[in-house]
């Protein structure tokens, strides 16, 4: 791998990683970095790679990233050199239909606090509160990415309390509902991947237009 070259966090879409990797930032401790985060490789050491995070919540932080797998002779990194990203994804929400590009999904929306307008889709967060364990089981209609929520905020909004997420309906949110009788994992998995491969700025994945 080349030092100072840009890479992306990848190889973490399996059910073990659920779209996230753990890294360590000095003075912050352990943090979670989502799939597709752009980074710069500073140096490769025996047990870790030192990276500079170029976008998202930890932009400009230096982190230590362990290897995906390693033994005495070699190591396999989370970093991938190429990843196709869409410059500016525009998601449209009309009624109970969320459309990104050519694909649409049925969602549940709480329109009491989600008004018409344009919202910025932020980098995802990994929720820490406990969720129904069935939400993570794909054979029961769940999704390996169920713990990932995408914040949506209007311009100049200080505190974000609205998200695009999977599971149960919550206030002001856009929800791909969990349905144990239906392969809802397919819906959320593809929403997750579409959103995370969008890039508007280094803090925003794209735009959500609520009609």
């Amino acid at each position: 791998m080349s030092l100072s070259q840009q890479y992306f966090i990848g190889r973490n879409l399996d059910p073990l990683h659920k779209g996230w990797v753990k890294a360590i930032i000095e003075n912050e401790g352990r943090i979670d970095l989502p799939f597709s985060t752009r980074v710069k490789l500073i140096e490769s050491q025996k047990n870790y790679e030192k990276i500079l995070i170029l976008e998202g919540y930890y932009k400009n932080s230096i982190a230590l990233l362990p290897y995906l797998s390693e033994n005495e002779d070699s190591s396999y990194s989370y970093l991938v050199s190429t990843l196709k990203l869409n410059k500016n994804i525009e998601a449209k929400l009309i009624g109970n239909k969320l459309t990104i590009g050519s694909k649409s999904w049925e969602v549940s929306v709480d329109y009491t606090s989600l008004k018409k307008g344009s919202y910025s889709i932020g980098f995802p967060v990994k929720i820490t509160k406990k969720i129904n364990p069935d939400y993570l089981l794909e054979k029961k209609g769940g999704s390996r990415f169920a713990e990932t929520w995408f914040p949506i905020n209007a311009q100049n909004e200080m505190f974000v309390e609205r998200f695009i997420h999977f599971g149960y309906i919550s206030e002001g949110c856009v929800t791909v509902k969990y349905n144990s009788l239906h392969l809802s994992s397919n819906s959320w998995n593809s929403v997750f991947l579409r959103l995370l491969t969008g890039r508007k700025t280094d803090q925003s994945l794209g735009t959500l237009k609520v009609a």
Binding site: S69, D73, S75, N186
Partner: protein, 326 residues
């Protein structure tokens, strides 16, 4: 203690106390459970007795006397197996006298003292009479339960104290064993994702890197190649591959390496990766439709179940690479 028990003619005082406590406790627990389970059917002896006697005398009899008679008879049947009929009768009477005192006797006292706990639905005198009749009936019921407890039928169908103890131990041991087994085997069914996870960690990082480099060079689908590598690794772990290399000394053609390529000499895992990609998977990048992927896989291994496993592995590595295998 023994003089007192002789006077009461209740034999062994400890057995007598045990019988009295057991009968009253079980009757109490029964009504308590009934109250919790069917609150709309339950009525307290204190404040609704008269009401229900008026509404349905048959129901009152069933509710008030049947369970008491049943429990008393069974318990006396167990405890009085080796005792005399007189003893059984005496204990029946005493047990149900105590029960009547604690229930209807208490209700009478509360009525007489105008306690707020009791509701007077009907004529005060009528309620007192109902309670008195019930009280006396229970004593007679005690007599009959003691008598019936010593009948041949009850003696034959009730267990002995030793039998009860044996059964309790057996039940306890069975429950403990089942709980233990359930804890051990809970969710121990084979989860294919767990198998993939375990297997992936065992693949040499060099091989994974090699797959990435060669896939890029030969325009192969790296997820497909990794999935096949994963499935092969599960089916033939490294130690088995090492044993198979012994075939080479016998100059036998066979499948070698992590990708199980057919050659006439042993090859390393990396070499097998190169050969497999060159022969089967070059220019597979960008192929996403299931049928085309299936055709590719079947060229490598014609088994349908093998292909299903490869699709599962692909979905495991990257859900974007294949349709949900179901």
């Amino acid at each position: 203690m023994s003089n007192f028990s002789n006077w009461l003619q209740i034999g062994d005082p400890y057995l007598a106390i045990a019988a009295i406590i057991a009968i009253n406790l079980i009757i109490f627990l029964f009504y308590h459970a009934f109250k919790l389970k069917w609150p709309d059917l339950y009525f307290s002896v204190n404040n609704m007795a008269a009401f229900f006697v008026t509404v349905s005398f048959k129901r009152y009899l069933v509710f008030r006397f049947a369970p008491v008679f049943l429990f008393s008879t069974i318990i006396l049947g167990i405890l009085m197996k080796d005792q005399t009929v007189n003893l059984s009768i005496n204990l029946g009477v005493i047990s149900l006298f105590i029960h009547a005192l604690l229930s209807n006797g208490r209700a009478i006292l509360e009525l007489l003292t105008n306690s707020k706990r009791i509701k007077v639905y009907f004529n005060f005198g009528y309620q007192i009479v109902i309670h008195l009749i019930t009280f006396i009936s229970l004593i007679f019921l005690g007599f009959f339960s003691g008598l019936v407890a010593k009948s041949a039928f009850i003696v034959s169908i009730t267990p002995s104290i030793q039998g009860i103890a044996d059964n309790i131990w057996s039940a306890l041991l069975t429950v403990l064993i089942i709980e233990y087994l359930q804890t051990i085997y809970k969710e121990k069914g084979i989860d294919i994702d767990q198998v993939f996870e375990n297997s992936l960690t065992k693949i040499d990082p060099k091989i994974l890197k090699h797959i990435d480099e060669l896939s890029q060079a030969l325009n192969a689908n790296p997820v497909l190649v990794k999935a096949i590598c994963l499935v092969e690794s599960i089916q033939r772990p490294k130690w088995i591959r090492n044993v198979e290399n012994i075939k080479a000394f016998l100059r036998l053609t066979g499948t070698y390496g992590i990708m199980q390529v057919r050659v006439n000499k042993p090859i390393s895992d990396n070499e097998s990766v190169k050969m497999a990609i060159e022969k089967y998977f070059s220019n597979s990048k960008g192929i996403r439709d299931q049928q085309s992927l299936l055709d590719l896989i079947k060229k490598y291994n014609s088994s349908k179940s093998y292909a299903d496993l490869v699709f599962r592995a692909m979905y495991y590595i990257d859900p974007n690479s294949a349709e949900y295998p179901g």
